[in-house]
């Protein structure tokens, strides 16, 4: 394919994940000439079964499933807690939605006002009400299967586009225990078709949602990349942007490399950086200049600062009776009951009731030194009666957690790699302990023999990169405006979870999509 710049482009979008492709699709629909540059490849949809096989076979790691490249994706992890960046992202058209779980809930109202309502963190410059119309649009764009049965969710004006997936058999077991404990369970909004919609299949139950959906029932951003192309946008893959050339007030061109070793300049009237919570600040920092010696759009000094993720807390065990796990790879029940109890000492968290607790028989079969009857005996002994409850926990923004450039290492184009400096805070630890406490009460009520726990000592990230180019009204303490335009440059927008001032404890992609729609409206108005 040709990877030469598009003449006369109105908009150049960097990054073909959900934020970038939604912006591109919207602006192309408005008649603008749009070009999208992505560092990774365009994946052949016909290869998805092979990728599924990689996800099952033990010789392939998670980054292998989507052709991770250690030189291209090199990074450094520093700080108290190691960060497995390349397990947390996919580079290519579709971005990390290619391997995501697909859970899409709105942030709660208090999440937009953490400082005011919980006494910690910062307030967003917008409220839930400001984003509510775009949330509804985002649910239509992604195709969300959900129900209005969550008594703790923020108000909504219309049903989800598709019916929720019904609860699982194991949900029914949990429901009895939760009823005793007066814990309300409810459905999960999934960006996964519960029925055929817009040319995409209904879910057929491959059970490998993370990291690959062969049927295409799970939303990924190739949907919007292809939609944008149908409207006339140009998507150029394997075109990593090296820097943004700029003057004092505006970006002039994105300089990108191509596989043939060439470099090109893509000029445009407006630029949208949508590379995720790590690569977006990295590109800005790589684009330093005499005007912006600390990095482009970094007058506040906050580019790369306040890196956040959600933390996982979990517990599970064995029930001694069939629980019917691993038939599907998604969740059908959660509880947000404790979410809005959050204050300065304990953060918000949500509970997730697993449909894939314990080992998958086929994955077990491919490891071990047995076969024949011995193997079958092992599989039967280890599959079938597992239960598990997970939780996502908020991490507060802190300048102690950051993404910067590691000048001592370079990637395959000679650029300093991103350094992730990540640590945990006491509120988060207390929140994990609180989630564990409730998880234990549920499992004990259920009668399970608890066999594992993920607590504050062994917690890990949920792969939601947030906070590194914060949104705000004051240029001194934020990087972008409430419309996601950089304070410093009049034609440069940042889209994605890097603009979240706080993260709440909800999976971020629906909010990413809603904000992308909001940004597209602002960009359209500016052109």
């Amino acid at each position: 394919m040709t990877r030469t710049p598009v003449a006369g482009a109105d908009v150049c979008v960097v990054g073909a994940g959900p934020a970038g492709t939604i912006v591109a699709d919207r602006l192309a629909a408005s008649g603008h000439e749009v070009v999208v540059l992505d560092a990774g490849p365009r994946f052949d949809p016909d290869d998805r079964l092979r990728r599924q096989e990689r996800s099952i076979r033990p010789s392939f790691s998670r980054p292998d499933v989507w052709d991770g490249d250690a030189d291209r994706d090199a990074y450094t992890s520093s700080g108290e807690k190691g960060y497995p960046l390349n397990h947390a992202r996919v580079k290519g058209v579709g971005g990390s939605t290619l391997h995501w779980q697909g859970m899409v809930m709105r942030l709660h109202e208090d999440d937009f006002n953490s400082r005011s309502e919980r006494g910690v963190g910062v307030d967003w410059p917008i409220d839930y009400a400001d984003l509510r119309p775009q949330y509804a649009e985002a649910e239509r764009e992604l195709g969300v299967s959900g129900a209005s049965d969550n008594p703790f969710a923020p108000p909504r004006e219309e049903p989800h586009p598709m019916a929720a997936f019904p609860p699982s058999y194991s949900d029914s077991l949990f429901a009895e225990a939760c009823e005793e404990l007066e814990i309300a369970m409810h459905s999960v909004p999934n960006a996964r078709n519960s029925e055929s919609r817009n040319g995409r299949s209904a879910c057929v139950g491959y059970g490998t949602c993370q990291p690959v959906c062969p049927s295409g029932a799970k939303y990924d951003a190739t949907v919007h990349a292809e939609a944008a192309e149908r409207r006339g946008a140009t998507v150029i893959d394997r075109a990593p942007v090296q820097r943004l050339e700029h003057g004092l007030d505006s970006v002039e061109a994105a300089v990108y490399a191509t596989p043939d070793g060439e470099r090109h300049r893509q000029e445009a009237d407006a630029f949208v950086v949508a590379c995720g919570g790590v690569e977006t600040p990295r590109l800005l920092l790589l684009s330093e200049s005499e005007h912006y010696p600390d990095g482009l759009a970094n007058s506040s000094g906050l580019v790369g600062k306040c890196f956040m993720d959600h933390l996982f807390a979990g517990m599970g065990g064995r029930l001694g009776e069939p629980t019917r796990q691993n038939h599907v790879g998604f969740l059908t029940s959660e509880s947000h009951q404790f979410y809005d109890d959050a204050d300065e000492t304990v953060g918000p968290f949500k509970l997730e009731f697993f449909n894939y607790a314990g080992p998958s028989p086929v994955e077990m079969a491919l490891t071990g030194d047995d076969w024949g009857d011995d193997l079958l005996e092992r599989l039967r002994a280890n599959y079938g009666d597992h239960v598990g409850v997970g939780a996502l926990v908020e991490q507060l923004p802190s300048e102690d957690n950051y993404v910067t450039l590691d000048e001592s290492r370079t990637d395959d184009h000679g650029n300093p790699v991103p350094e992730i400096h990540w640590s945990l805070d006491d509120r988060m630890r207390r929140t994990i302990e609180r989630a564990n406490e409730i998880q234990r009460s549920i499992l004990e009520e259920l009668g399970a023999d608890i066999t594992w726990q993920v607590g504050s000592e062994n917690t890990g990230p949920a792969y939601h990169h947030m906070g590194t180019t914060r949104m705000g009204t004051n240029p001194d303490d934020s990087v972008v405006t409430p419309q996601l335009r950089t304070h410093d440059l009049e034609n440069c927008w940042l889209a994605g979870s890097s603009v979240f001032p706080t993260g709440g404890a909800m999976n971020p992609t629906l909010t990413i999509a809603a904000l992308a729609i909001r940004a597209a409206e602002a960009i359209d108005a500016s052109l």
């Binding site: 016909d46 079964l49 092979r50 599924q52 096989e53 099952i56 076979r57 033990p58 010789s59 997936f165 019904p166 609860p167 699982s168 058999y169 029914s172 519960s194 209904a202 879910c203 057929v204 139950g205 491959y206 059970g207 490998t208 062969p214 049927s215 009776e321 069939p322 019917r324 691993n326 038939h327 599907v328 790879g329 059908t332 449909n355 998958s360 028989p361 086929v362 994955e363 079969a365 491919l366 030194d369 047995d370 076969w371 024949g372 009857d373 193997l375 079958l376 599989l379 039967r380 599959y383 079938g384």
Partner: protein, 177 residues
């Protein structure tokens, strides 16, 4: 419990086959592959013989299942050539250590061969040592075919095993009474 050709077709639908390019690949293979490489019929026979020790004894219908599955997997670009080469290497070990082709060995000798090759304790690796390749292209190939199929899943108690597009009903059902 009986395996069928249909089970193999279902497993192939989940794991992928050679696809439209298969016929062209076969023509290329016939020209380029070493002359001492096992032909496809011999590979299938060897895989059937090995499946008879790798699969649980309560299964019947192994031969048509493996025949259907392996014949298609041999057509898969890259994978087929490596499977053929690995089966040839294992067959040479069988000849050297047991004076017979894999398909002619007793079940006990077939199992012994896999262990002598070190494939029982090797980690699978498609580009690895002989033991690692036997683990990948022979043992795990056959185990994956079985345990992603509904019949293989039912042996363990799951009608819709991971990798099989068995719909969204079974996860809602309770255990069979």
């Amino acid at each position: 419990m009986e395996l069928t050709r249909r089970d193999a077709t279902i497993a192939l639908a989940a794991l992928g086959t050679g696809g439209a390019a298969a016929a062209g690949l076969r023509a290329t293979r016939e020209r380029d592959e070493p002359p001492d490489r096992l032909d496809d019929d011999a590979v299938v026979s060897a895989m059937v013989a090995l499946a008879e020790v790798l699969y649980p004894s309560e299964l019947s219908g192994i031969e048509p299942f493996v025949e259907t599955f392996v014949t298609e997997r041999l057509e898969r670009e890259g994978h087929g050539e490596a499977l053929r080469a690995t089966a040839t290497d294992l067959n040479e070990l069988a000849a050297a250590w047991h004076d017979a082709a894999i398909a002619e060995l007793s079940p006990a000798a077939r199992e012994e061969l896999l262990r002598e090759a070190g494939a029982d304790i090797a980690d699978e690796a498609p580009d690895g040592t002989t033991a690692e390749r036997v683990r990948y292209f022979v043992i795990n190939e056959l185990l994956m075919a079985l345990y992603t199929s509904p019949t293989g899943g039912e042996l363990v108690g799951i009608e819709n095993p991971q990798g099989h597009p068995g719909g969204t009903d079974t996860y809602q059902r309770g255990p069979p009474s």
